[in-house]
Amino acid sequence: MDEREIIRLLLARDEAGAEALSRRFSPLMRYIIAPILSDARDREECLNDALLLVWQKIDAYDEGRGSFTAWLTALTRNAALTRARKLRRAAETSDFSETEEEALPETAPEEAVLAAERRRILLDAVASLPKSERDLFWRKYYYCQPTEQIAAEVGLTVRAAEGRLYRIRKKLRKRLGGELE
């Protein structure tokens, strides 16, 4: 079943769409979750959460803003990051709630504008990097992949990958001029 058909079924609240989504996109979603959550059970639970979120939020998907894969990627990554934060907090407070939404600190509108501006400046700086370095950047800082995984997948030794990431960090620091620090 192709992507368009899966979206159509999901929008029509047809469970066949959910099944097809799981069959076709689970490998991608597992791949995104794996570097963020180390425990296998957490990863499976996160995958189920993410699939449920897709089912619930499919109406929010806007084809004009990006591909379905990009939307699914963002949704899965954010689900994994949220779960990782909860796990960290639970480890600190010995309390983990499955259902409660994480109580995020209130963000002042002014701070939100500043964060958006910082993000724009960062993306401009990333855009000025060569393609091979941009690929490493996204893997490291968006997908939170460990250096060992990045190295294996791009055909580098771990040491070489570390060296490249160091150079990327150095370039970004220079281009951002202390904007993030």
Binding site: G66, A70, R119, W138, G155
Partner: protein, 486 residues
């Protein structure tokens, strides 16, 4: 933890948190994070480069070389995923080793001919079998990945890829020189299209499973491995290029002639043969010319693209009647580089005995030698080869249509001395011409004009029809003729 490490960690956290909002990632970020797409593309592009070869320039060598490298790098990354991919990786190493050796073999004199015989022929079959196993294992490996990730395990495109390679392999084994002309060209172009379709379809089958494939960590980066393999190849080509670029020649100082030969020189001088020519003839050739009744001398000059000027002095001698049928003559075809060429690789002289020209003339044994002046001394050497040789044609084609020619003709092959001046030589033979016929001896002198010739081709092997396109930038042939009424 040092201050620097702490600062790096803080910066890393700042970068991650700057990207932690819910807006969509750029498409390039989505494409970038993929465990196996890069490896799979390498494998499929590698297979296509090995499968589709055009006999144009160095493309039959460059494209498969790149293809073997890409296949190897791609399969290296996939090899840990399952045993099938591991098997394919092993086969890729075997194929690359054969192909690298074959590329180096082609840089040896006669390498192209060696590659078609004996052990190399057997190895080429092994290569084909390895390729089949590799493609089969690739399909099985993909099927296993799809099954493990809950997808449909059938991989029809991968099967199609295997079938295509199997058909080409069987054709190559049972009919390596099959001549089918235009029909075969059309068939193969069609099969190339089928191959590309199978590759694209296989890519789609891989794409569905690509997130489920684990790539293997590497101790040597792809770039380093590729560089190492290219260095090995370059070293092999350089060593064979240096050691085997020239034919072995045995230059010896010229020795004094006997009084009998000196008499012959005087006799021939009286007939108008230039002293420079007579100085070069061997004693046997001088004595064979004794008694000549008349001489015809034709001189011409040609410029070579590598800066040399060559002078041809063609001499025909009418010899006394020997009681046999026809008119007895003697022919001396001499060349001399009056301005030295820059390239001194291999040269050859090749007499045309076919093509309907005086085929009923009878030519005797061929004699001759080479001479050069160095440090005030004249040195002489025999040709590396002088005599009749079967110039047999192999396959000559743009794609696959071919023809075959065979003929034994008079050829002389040698490597000019590296430093000497006035590099020169000649061939001489007896000629019996039917009554009422003119002598018409045509030949070409082929000179190497490029230092880099690949595959290794000597001036003589350049005379043969060949499947390899060498082009006019490596050798230049000068045509010369001796025509006279005996």
């Amino acid at each position: 933890m040092t201050d620097r490490n702490r600062a790096d960690e803080r910066f890393d956290e700042a970068l991650i948190s700057s990207l932690a909002d819910e807006s969509l990632p750029p498409e390039e970020a989505v494409r970038a994070a993929n465990p196996s797409r890069r490896a799979v593309r390498c494998v499929l592009i590698g297979l296509s480069l090995c499968g589709i070869t055009l006999k144009i320039g160095w493309l039959p060598y460059l494209l498969p070389a790149a293809g073997h490298l890409l296949s190897l790098l791609g399969l290296r990354a996939l090899s840990r995923e399952n045993g099938w991919f591991g098997t394919a990786y092993g086969c890729a190493w075997g194929r690359a080793a054969y192909f690298w050796s074959w590329l180096i073999l082609l840089n040896l004199p006669g390498g192209a001919e060696t590659a078609e015989t004996g052990l190399w022929k057997a190895l080429s079959v092994v290569y084909g079998v390895l390729l089949l196993i590799e493609v089969f294992a690739l399909g099985r490996g993909l099927s296993a990945v799809r099954r493990a990730s809950g997808l449909d395990a059938s991989v029809p495109a991968a099967l199609g890829l295997f079938v295509w390679h199997a058909v080409v392999f069987v054709l190559a084994v049972i009919a390596p020189n099959f001549t089918g002309g235009t029909l075969l060209v059309v068939l193969f172009l069609g099969s190339y299209v089928m191959l590309l379709r199978a590759l694209f379809s296989a890519a789609a089958e891989f794409e569905e499973a690509e997130y489920a494939i684990r790539t293997a960590p590497v101790r040597v980066s792809d770039r380093s491995l590729a560089a190492a393999m290219l260095i090995v190849l370059a070293a092999g080509l350089t060593v064979t290029g240096i050691l085997c670029a020239r034919l072995p020649m045995n230059w010896q100082p010229l020795t004094a002639r006997s009084p009998e030969a000196e008499d012959a020189v005087r006799e021939l001088e009286d007939l108008g043969i230039p002293q420079t020519v007579l100085d070069d003839l061997t004693e046997d050739d001088l004595l064979a010319c004794r008694g000549a009744e008349r001489a015809v001398v034709k001189v011409s000059e040609e410029e070579s693209p590598d800066g040399g000027v060559i002078r041809f002095t063609n001499i025909g001698l009418r010899m006394p009647e020997d009681g046999g049928e026809g008119i007895s003559c003697r022919v001396i075809l001499r060349f001399e580089w009056i301005e030295a060429p820059r390239v001194r690789g291999t040269d050859c002289i090749h007499l045309w005995e076919r093509g309907g020209r005086d085929e009923d003339c009878i030519r005797g044994e061929v004699g001759g030698r080479l001479l050069v002046d160095r440090d005030g001394t004249t040195y002489s050497a025999d040709y590396a080869f002088l005599g009749r040789q079967l110039l047999s044609g192999g396959v000559t084609s743009f794609f696959f249509s071919s023809f075959t020619e065979e003929a034994a003709e008079i050829v002389g092959e040698f490597s000019p001395d590296r430093q000497g001046r006035r590099m020169r030589g000649y061939v001489s033979y007896a000629l019996t011409v039917p009554e009422g016929r003119n002598v018409s001896e045509w030949y070409n002198y082929t000179h190497q004009i490029s230092r880099f010739v690949y595959p290794r081709t000597t001036a003589l092997s350049h005379q043969r029809p060949s499947s390899a396109w060498v082009g006019d930038r490596t050798f230049r042939s000068f045509y010369s003729a001796l025509q006279f009424t005996p």
